[in-house]
């Protein structure tokens, strides 16, 4: 069964540095998402992306964050000037059609640790 894959599984970065989290959505999916889960807390929506542009974003997704689909297969989340509070699990998801009509498929996540 096709899967959403995320790399790396664990990223350690110095505070203030930029980090790029990578995701390869399922190939025929058209909608892409990023979520964040701070340790011990709930999963939080960050952003949804469709047709090469952001369709929705949460209050968390400020100017520090950006997303891109650079080559038709990867979907990246860039965090500029990382802060300690950016430490979290970041999940990528994709769906064939618009949620919630179509189910989302999640990747295994990238654990981001900011030192």
């Amino acid at each position: 069964e096709p899967e959403v894959t995320q790399t790396p599984s664990h990223q350690v970065t110095q505070m203030g540095q930029e980090v790029i989290l990578r995701c390869v959505p399922i190939s025929n999916h058209l909608y892409f998402y990023w979520y964040r889960q701070i340790l011990g807390q709930k999963v939080e929506f960050l952003v949804s992306f469709y047709n090469n542009e952001i369709s929705e974003k949460s209050e968390i997704f400020d100017d520090q964050f950006s997303v891109e689909r650079p080559d038709g297969s990867n979907f990246t989340l860039k965090i500029r000037s990382t802060k300690l509070e950016d430490s979290a699990m970041y999940f990528c998801a994709s769906s064939e059609g618009e949620v919630p009509n179509q189910p989302q498929h999640f990747g295994d996540g990238t654990r981001l640790s900011i030192l």
Binding site: Y31, Y35, Q41, K42, V43, E44, F45, S48, S55, E56, S58, M89, F91, E98, V99, P100, P103, Q104, F106, G107, D108, G109
Partner: protein
């Protein structure tokens, strides 16, 4: 604002027994979807079951069923004949439009 509340941070159940996980939500929307996701230690979230708000019939997927009470804004998950592989974090989620709102999760332990 939409909120999802899971009041049980931890639950345990004997293998083969039945357990019910609670979830309440708050919304002013009339058209929305509700979900239960399972997050095992491997971390990937897996959709367990979903319910469309306009459907009165409770959704069922094998051993998993929901009790959807729209007026009470309640959406509980019942797991029957619990198995060791059911041990995981369970997240209740609400979706309207293109955004998901998750609860804080319930950690389910299955006792052999």
């Amino acid at each position: 604002a939409q909120t999802v509340t899971q009041s049980q941070p931890e639950m345990s159940v004997q293998e083969a027994e039945t357990v019910t996980l609670s979830c309440t939500y708050d919304t002013s929307e009339s058209d929305y979807y509700l979900f239960w996701y399972k997050q095992p230690p491997s971390r990937q979230m897996i959709l367990v079951i979903r319910q469309e708000a306009y459907k009165q019939q409770n959704a069922t997927e094998n051993r998993f069923s929901v009790n959807f009470q729209k007026a009470a804004k309640s959406f509980s998950l019942k797991i029957s004949d619990s198995q060791l592989g059911d041990a995981a974090m369970y997240f209740c989620a609400y979706a309207s439009g293109n955004q998901f709102y998750f609860g804080t999760g319930t950690s389910l332990t299955v006792i052999p």
